[in-house]
Amino acid sequence: MINLLRRFTQLAVWLLLLYIPAAGLVGIHFITRGYDIPLENVTWLSHRLYDYFHEMNDPASYIYLVKGSMWSMSIGKLTISDPLAVLESFLSSRTYFRPFLITALIPIFLTVVLGRVYCGWLCPMNPVFEANHWIRKKLTIAGIRFPNVSFSKNNKYYILAGGLLCSFVAGMSVFPLFYPPANVSRIVFMQIFYSSFGFGVGIIMLMLLMEFFISPRAWCRSFCPGGALYSLLSPRRLLRVKVDGVACDNCGDCFTVCEFGLNPVKASDSKECDNCGKCIPACQKHSLKYGAGKGALSNG
């Protein structure tokens, strides 16, 4: 059930990423109405949206309700930005621009209360990495041996600090060049809107190849600067995966499914857990549950 819900939100995020540029093309067509952009050479999705919005009275106001990407998105009048984007822009420009700074408040609040949920539930690259990991696992079961290098989980804090310092020194945004949510949003947008994409695809491919052949889930576990920021915000979170110590028989089923390589019985109290809930249905004794605050539900 939890897995299904998580897949549903991830699918919704991907549909939103595809919808926004496709609807943007339709919106341009409606506003300019045959000025110099006919509705041709656009995607199948744009044509379907065109048919749908065509009957409406004021289609542009509906089309532009949702704008942007996972890096910075505006829904109606509300703008939500990635805290990483806000921090980086604040450090590199060295100016205090309040309307931008307050756009990060909602994700920061949600992270403080719910933990690193962005990683497991909303990040558009997470299902891709998980699918990659799934193929690797299946091949390992089939008998193909891959090297399994493990990197320290502290690497991501160094990458976060280094990236912020780098953008501070250079005076430009560095994270959107490789940070997966921003990168993949840009690739999808560019592909649908301009029918082209930059070198970001190469970086995504490198990450996937590294995870496939060298170290499973290495990016999310030990290199992602966004994950590092969310981890730093989440140690006092309310929502946690908690164990019922009486029911648990230490079988170890849960830590084979954990995407972050943690032991959910003990390590869900640490700041690395992203509350994805993959371990909850994996437990055959139903001893893992979501709960509030630190500590176990009962001590066995």
Partner: protein, 196 residues
């Protein structure tokens, strides 16, 4: 934690911190030396790259823009483009390339920009660039007839037809929107917009 492991841990974290700070400052210094302006630093010496209307000064713009693409999404004319690594520091930041599409000053990009790189300003205060006429290419200037394309399209009436319909640009009134460059009938554009 005994003394030996503590010393190893300290050594490890100090070396990692030094590596991070050194590497980040090094890469930052390298990136800082990248060409900032593709026009003046020689990349696109032939075509003008302009910032969208309402852009704050160029050095500030590069540090503030978060590359979120919302300005491109609402741009009716699809005039806002994003150059790749050839733009140096300006990679993935919005540009208007007036040879392809000029800006019609609808100002919707300034409404959506979340980061403050494009500020809400009045249409009259826009200064994206300045148009200059090349009198060796412009048809009326070389006595090849009466064209009048740029004088007709200019939204602020900054281009006036003078003697023999030869266009002249009023630099005070020119907003630098680039529509004149877009509509110029010459293949090698006789009127070009340059950043100021």
């Amino acid at each position: 934690m005994d003394d030996k492991t503590r010393r190893a841990f300290l050594k490890q974290s100090v070396s990692a911190a030094v590596l991070t700070i050194g590497g980040a400052s090094g890469i930052g210094a390298l990136l800082k030396r990248l060409p900032m302006d593709p026009v003046t630093e020689g990349y696109y010496y032939q075509s003008a790259y302009l910032r969208p209307p309402g852009a704050i000064p160029e050095e500030k713009f590069l540090t503030t823009c978060i590359q979120c693409f919302q300005c491109a999404e609402v741009c009716d004319r699809k005039a806002i483009r994003f150059p790749g690594a050839e733009a140096g520091k300006g990679i993935n930041t919005p540009f208007i390339i007036p040879v392809e599409k000029g800006c019609d000053l609808c100002m919707r990009c300034t409404d959506v920009c979340p980061s403050g790189a494009l500020r809400k300003i009045d249409k009259k205060d826009v200064k994206m660039g300045e148009a200059r006429i090349d009198d060796r290419l412009c048809l009326p200037w070389i006595d090849r007839g009466y064209c009048g394309a740029c004088t007709t399209i200019c939204p602020n009436n900054a281009i006036t037809a003078g003697f023999r319909n030869r266009p002249e640009v009023d630099k005070e009134k020119c907003l630098g929107c680039g529509l004149c460059e877009e509509v110029c009938v010459q293949e090698a554009k006789a009127i070009r917009v340059y950043r100021v």
